[in-house]
């Protein structure tokens, strides 16, 4: 597994994007593991009766994709300290969702390297459906 060190990070650099395409089956399975049994995530009729265009992806599943974006990037020794996100728009199943991020700040605190990032998710129409921030800590190169 790859290692990412604090010294490798430059402000403004991009996090390698993560592309996800949640399926309707995945939404049902997410309901099981997450306990989010809100029918707007698997019952088309119910979702429409609530004024939604159709079934929507659970916010916290999308949140998990942002977590994956970060852990794929930081590797074995990276630690997630904070992950905040606002659900700006609805995500729909069977659509390609691209998670992206950028380094906005790096600093050392208590001997640990910290990196602040801005994160977002884009739908196929280029709209940002999620936007957020994260702080990860990374080891220093020996």
């Amino acid at each position: 597994m790859k290692h990412l060190y604090y010294e490798d990070i430059a402000v403004g650099s991009e996090i390698p994007p993560l592309v996800k395409k949640p399926t309707t089956d995945q939404l049902v399975m997410w309901g099981e593991v997450s306990g989010d049994h809100n029918p707007i995530h698997f019952d088309e009729g119910f979702a429409r009766s609530r004024g939604l265009p159709g079934i929507i992806v659970q916010g916290q599943l999308a949140f998990s994709f942002l977590g994956q974006l970060l852990s794929d990037w930081t590797g074995e020794q990276g630690v997630l300290n904070k992950l905040n996100c606002s659900y700006k728009g609805m995500n729909f199943p069977e659509e390609t969702l691209t998670c992206r991020g950028k380094v906005i700040k790096r600093y050392t605190m208590a001997d640990k390297g910290h990196v602040d990032c801005s994160l977002w998710m884009e739908n196929p129409r280029g709209e940002r459906t999620l936007s957020g921030t994260a702080t990860v800590s990374l080891p220093h190169r020996e």
Partner: protein
Amino acid sequence: MTEAIAVLKESIGVERAVGIYEIKRAKIASFALVIGDPNPLWQDIAPPSLIPTLGFARILPELISLFPTLLHGSTELECHQPVRAGDRIKVSSKLANIRQRAGKDQRPVVFLTIELTYKNQRQELVARCRQVLIAQ
């Protein structure tokens, strides 16, 4: 809706126990599988995004019953230490705030802020989470 808000307002700031959740290796594995995250890290350590789902099933039904539509506004997760296989995580929650404002068509929109705390079997703080839910 006004009635639902009145009921909830009485519970602002009151911390309540949600439950204790054992983090089994199988749970970590199925969680990573559902996300589609094959990272080998997720065997002894749980993906941080698993934390906000602990106890979520206990909090949601009450709110779904009170409001016709409930959407997620934001999630803020602060991790203090990793959650590991074998941990027993105690979740407590409190309703921190309710705000109401007129949305489109002047329909009222209610923002519910819920704060959750997660402690392990050694009573160490592992994480905090703030969830904002939007009710219409």
